[in-house]
Amino acid sequence: MATVRVQEAPFDLAQETAALAAGRADAGAVASFLGICRADDGLAAMVLEHYPAMTERALARIAAEAEARWPLTGCTVIHRVGRILPGEPIVLVLTASAHRAAALESCAFLIDWLKTKAPFWKCEEFADGARRWVAARAEDEAAAARWVAAAADAPARRRREPERTTG
């Protein structure tokens, strides 16, 4: 049910929100997270690389996990790749539910898991020509780990571990 996209083009927040809520009389709450390329000192652009054969599958799995944990009426994850300028959006997570707790929690969950479980890599390009691969942050691992603890606290909910497939 979730909408998952990887694209170079910018996305339209209003259009995606309208699409999520369209025809869903039971959506009382829509939460969103928009990640934007900050204009840090001297940053000229951010280049997003990904692993095409794996990315959409990873995003779909993360979205399916959110849908298994919360009663969502809609879920959209869009991640841009390629060259992104300061001030431009990078990622959008949208969740809808009857009530706000499910929408807000699942939105936070999705961006936390996306940060640690989807194959994207950011390379910063600076005005002076320097390039630097962004390092993973320990805080991101900790933020993702709290949802594993949360799932362990709720034994009725099935916890999924990454599986190796041969497909």
Binding site: A53, M54, A118, K122, A136
Partner: protein
């Protein structure tokens, strides 16, 4: 076996992907990393600190002891930084 490299591993190896035919004693991700590291100075640099390297086997995140087989697609990359 198809081997893919992303981000700074791709830059250090100097290749986005290559074919590899490791000997039968290369059975898992950790063994493959050691075997690949001997291929060139670029490979050696890419795998110099295995703790900085993550892997996927057939598009699923893998650990050092995940088995690898001749028909697999194995990817190496740094910890992910999307979002």
């Amino acid at each position: 076996m198809r081997v893919l490299y992303f981000a700074w591993l791709r830059q250090k190896v100097g290749l986005a992907e290559e074919e590899a035919a490791p000997p039968p004693e290369v059975r898992d991700v950790a063994g493959l990393m050691r075997w690949l590291a001997a291929r060139s100075p670029g490979h050696a640099a890419a795998f110099a600190d295995p703790r900085q390297v993550r892997a996927a086997v057939n598009q699923e995140f893998a650990s050092p002891d995940t088995p690898v087989a001749p028909d697999d697609e194995v990817a190496f990359f740094p910890p992910v930084t999307g979002g």
